[in-house]
C-alpha cells in the first residue's frame, strides 16, 4: 500500500546566527514522511535531527526551503496554528495543573466544549493506563508516569503528526524498554504519524517503520531498519549503527544491482550496490560480524587470518581475527550447544562470507 505523504521537507536549510558565525544546522534536507508511519530521525547530537523536528513543530523557521503538511506549506505558520503536537524531552508538563488539566489543555485551547474535553481526557487516560491519577499534580507522579501524561497530552487533540524529541532519554533502562513497546502500541492504536528523534540506534531499530540517519545537517540514508542495518550505503551509517567490518576491494564486474568485488586477499564476494551507484575500481565493502562464520583455514574460506582474541558475551561470542592480507575482522557467533566456538587465540582460521551479506559503500 502506498500511503500519502504526511510531511515533506523540500530543500530545507536552517542557519543559526548570521554571516560568518552562522551555523548551518540543516543543509538542503529533503525527506518525505508517509502517513501512519513511525519515522525516526537518528543521529549523534548536533546532526540537525532536533532542528528538523523544531521546524516541523514551528518553534523555529527554515532559512530556506519548504515544509509541507499534507501538501500545504506550513513553514510560515506559528506553532499554535499547526495540527502537530510534540512530546518534549523533559516532558514540560504544566506544574500548576493536574494530570487531567494537562491532557485537556490542547482541546481547551481549540475551543472544544467542556464535556467533549472531559470525555477525551478520560479516553486518553485509559489509553495510557492512568485513569486513577487524573486529579494528581504532575509533581506527585513518577518519571514514567509523567512521560505517559506528556504522550496523552500531545495525542489528545488528535494531531495529524506527533513529534517526539528523545522522549525516553530521561528514563532508566527497564522503563525505557517498556515505553518502547508502549509507544509502538500507541502508534498502532491511534494510527497517527509519529516522528521520533533519537541518538539511540537500538531504539530506532526496534520501533521504526523507517529511519533517516543524519549527520552534520544532512540526511545520509532513509530506509527500513533492516535496509539501514543490512545495507548501509554510507560509511557513517555503517559505523553509527551496529558493529561492522570494512574491507577494501576492486570491482570486477556489475550485474543486476550487485557487484563482483575482488578483495585484497584474492577471493571475490558478491556485494549489494547502493541504489543508482555504479562504481569502477576501488571500493569499500562492509560485512556485519554476525553475517560471517568462522571456518577452517584454507579450503572454502573467503578470508584467512589468525585469531587474536575470543570474547564471550553470554548470548554470543566475538572472534577477533587479524587477516593475512592485513586489517582486522570480527565474527560474531551465537553460542549454541551444538555449535560451540572452538577456536582459541593464536589459531589459524578462515572466515566464510555468504551471498547477500556484503554491501558496497558509496564513498
Amino acid at each position: 500500500m502506498v500511503s500519502a505523504a504526511a510531511v515533506e521537507a523540500k530543500n530545507v536549510t536552517k542557519i543559526f546566527g548570521v554571516g560568518q558565525d552562522g551555523v548551518r544546522a540543516l543543509d538542503r534536507v529533503s525527506v518525505t514522511i508517509r502517513e501512519n508511519e513511525f519515522f525516526t530521525l537518528l543521529g549523534p547530537s548536533g546532526c540537525g535531527k532536533t532542528t528538523l523536528l523544531r521546524l516541523i513543530a514551528g518553534f523555529d523557521f527554515p532559512t530556506e526551503g519548504e515544509i509541507l503538511l499534507y501538501g500545504q506549506d506550513i513553514a510560515p505558520l506559528p506553532p499554535y496554528k499547526r495540527p502537530v503536537n510534540t512530546v518534549f524531552q523533559n516532558y514540560s508538563l504544566f506544574p500548576h495543573m493536574t494530570v487531567g488539566q494537562n491532557i485537556g489543555f490542547g482541546l481547551e485551547m481549540l475551543g472544544k466544549p467542556k464535556a467533549e474535553v472531559d470525555a477525551r481526557v478520560t479516553e486518553m487516560l485509559r489509553l495510557v493506563r492512568m485513569e486513577e491519577l487524573r486529579n494528581r499534580k504532575t509533581s506527585q507522579i513518577s518519571g514514567g508516569q509523567q512521560q505517559r501524561v506528556a504522550l496523552a497530552r500531545a495525542l489528545a487533540p488528535q494531531p495529524k503528526v506527533l513529534l517526539l524529541d528523545e522522549p525516553l532519554s530521561a528514563l532508566d533502562y527497564k522503563l525505557r524498554k517498556d515505553m518502547q513497546i508502549e509507544l509502538k502500541r500507541l502508534q498502532n492504536e491511534t494510527g497517527i504519524t509519529f516522528i521520533f528523534v533519537t541518538h539511540d540506534q537500538e531504539e530506532a531499530l526496534t520501533m521504526s517503520d523507517r529511519i533517516a540517519v543524519m549527520s552534520k545537517g544532512h540526511i545520509l540514508q532513509v530506509g527500513s531498519p533492516r535496509e539501514i542495518y543490512d545495507h548501509p550505503a554510507e560509511r557513517f551509517v555503517a559505523n553509527f549503527i551496529g558493529e561492522t567490518n570494512f574491507l577494501k576491494g576492486d570491482v570486477a564486474g556489475i550485474a543486476g544491482g550487485k557487484a563482483d568485488v575482488r578483495l585484497a586477499g584474492g577471493t571475490a564476494v558478491a556485494a549489494t550496490l547502493p541504489e543508482g551507484f555504479a562504481p569502477n575500481g576501488g571500493v569499500t565493502v562492509v560485512i556485519r560480524p554476525e553475517h560471517a562464520q568462522v571456518a577452517p583455514a584454507g579450503g572454502r574460506a573467503t578470508l584467512n587470518g589468525t585469531v587474536e582474541n575470543v570474547v564471550y558475551f553470554g548470548t554470543d561470542t566475538h572472534i577477533h581475527l587479524r587477516l593475512d592480507e592485513g586489517g582486522e575482522f570480527i565474527v560474531r557467533q551465537q553460542n549454541s550447544r551444538d555449535r560451540p566456538v572452538t577456536v582459541v587465540q593464536g589459531d589459524k582460521a578462515g572466515v566464510l562470507i555468504g551471498d547477500n551479506v556484503a554491501q558496497v559503500l558509496r564513498d
Binding site: 518534549f88 504544566f94 490542547g106
Partner: protein, 268 residues
C-alpha cells in the same frame, strides 16, 4: 595540624559567637526598647512606669497620625501597583523577548534607582516637579504617587525577574504547541506561575514606599504628611511615646509583610 589543612568554617572561628550576639543586640535592642516603651505608663522615653495601652489610644485619637497613616497606606498601595505592573512588563520583555542591542543598558537603567543616592533623586524630582507645577498649576498628590512608583520599580522588578528566569521557558513553547495563542499562553501558563514573583515584588515595593522619608520630604506639598515624615516632624519638636506606639505598629506591619514575602518565595 597547621592552619592551612584546617577547613575554614566561619562559625567555628574564635569570637564568632560573641560577634554574632553583639550584632544582634545592636540591631534589635533599640527596636525592642522602642516597643517596650510604647507600653510605658509614664510620659518618658527612659524611665519605666508600668504597662499601659495609653499611647496607642492617644495615637488612635490623633487625627494627624491617622491622616498620615492612611495617606502612607494608599500612597504605598497606588505606587506599588503601578511599579509592579511596569516591573512585570519590563521583566517579561527582558527575559522572554529576543536578546536585543542595548539590553545590558536597559538592565542598568531599570536598576539605576537602587544605586543613585536617594537625596539626588529627591532633589532632581523636586526641581522637575517644580517645573511641571509652574507649567500646569497642578499641586496634588499625583507627584508623590509618581515619585514613589518610579523608585519602587527596581524593587518590584528583581523578584519578578528572578521568578521568570527560574521558570522553564519550554512550558510556554509547550503551550504554543498545544494551540495556545501568545496571549492565552501568557494568561494560562506564564501568569499563574509568575504570581508568587509578582506578589513578592508588590510587597517589596509596598514596604519600600511605606518607609520612604527622603524623597517624600522633598516633594510633598504642605499638609501631605506620610507616617514617616509626620514622625520625623514630631521628633523635631518633642519626644512623645505616641511616636513609639506608631513606630511599633509600623514595625509590626513591615514584619508581617516581609514574613509573608519570605514564605511566598520559599514555597515554589
Amino acid at each position: 595540624m597547621t592552619a592551612a589543612t584546617k577547613p575554614f568554617i566561619v562559625n567555628r572561628m574564635p569570637g564568632f559567637g560573641t560577634m554574632a550576639i553583639a550584632v544582634f543586640l545592636m540591631l534589635y535592642l533599640p527596636i525592642s526598647l522602642l516597643i517596650i516603651f510604647s507600653f510605658n505608663e509614664r510620659e518618658s522615653l527612659a524611665v519605666w512606669g508600668g504597662f499601659s495601652w495609653r499611647w496607642y489610644e492617644a495615637a488612635w485619637q490623633n487625627r494627624d497620625i491617622k491622616d498620615a497613616a492612611f495617606r502612607s497606606l494608599w500612597l504605598a498601595g497606588f505606587a506599588a501597583t503601578i511599579a509592579t505592573a511596569a516591573a512585570t512588563l519590563a521583566a517579561i520583555a527582558t527575559t522572554r523577548g529576543k536578546p536585543f542591542l542595548g539590553m545590558t543598558t536597559v538592565y542598568a537603567v531599570i536598576n539605576m534607582p537602587l544605586m543613585v543616592p536617594e537625596i539626588v533623586t529627591a532633589v532632581a524630582l523636586l526641581i522637575f516637579f517644580a517645573w511641571i507645577k509652574v507649567a500646569t498649576g497642578y499641586t496634588g498628590a499625583a507627584y508623590l504617587v509618581a515619585a514613589h512608583a518610579a523608585f519602587c520599580v527596581p524593587f518590584a522588578y528583581l523578584p519578578i525577574r528572578a521568578r521568570l528566569e527560574s521558570m522553564d521557558a519550554t512550558l510556554e513553547v509547550a503551550a504554543a504547541d498545544l494551540y495556545a495563542s501568545p496571549w492565552q499562553a501568557f494568561r494560562r501558563i506564564t501568569l499563574p506561575l509568575l504570581w508568587p514573583g509578582i506578589i513578592a515584588g508588590f510587597m517589596l515595593a509596598f514596604v519600600i514606599s511605606l518607609d520612604d522619608v527622603v524623597i517624600t520630604e522633598h516633594i510633598k506639598s504642605a499638609g501631605m504628611e506620610t507616617l514617616p515624615t509626620y514622625m520625623l516632624g514630631q521628633l523635631r519638636r518633642s519626644m512623645s511615646p505616641e511616636v513609639n506606639a506608631v513606630s511599633a505598629i509600623f514595625f509590626l506591619l513591615s514584619v508581617v509583610l516581609v514574613t509573608f514575602f519570605f514564605f511566598l518565595n520559599r514555597k515554589k
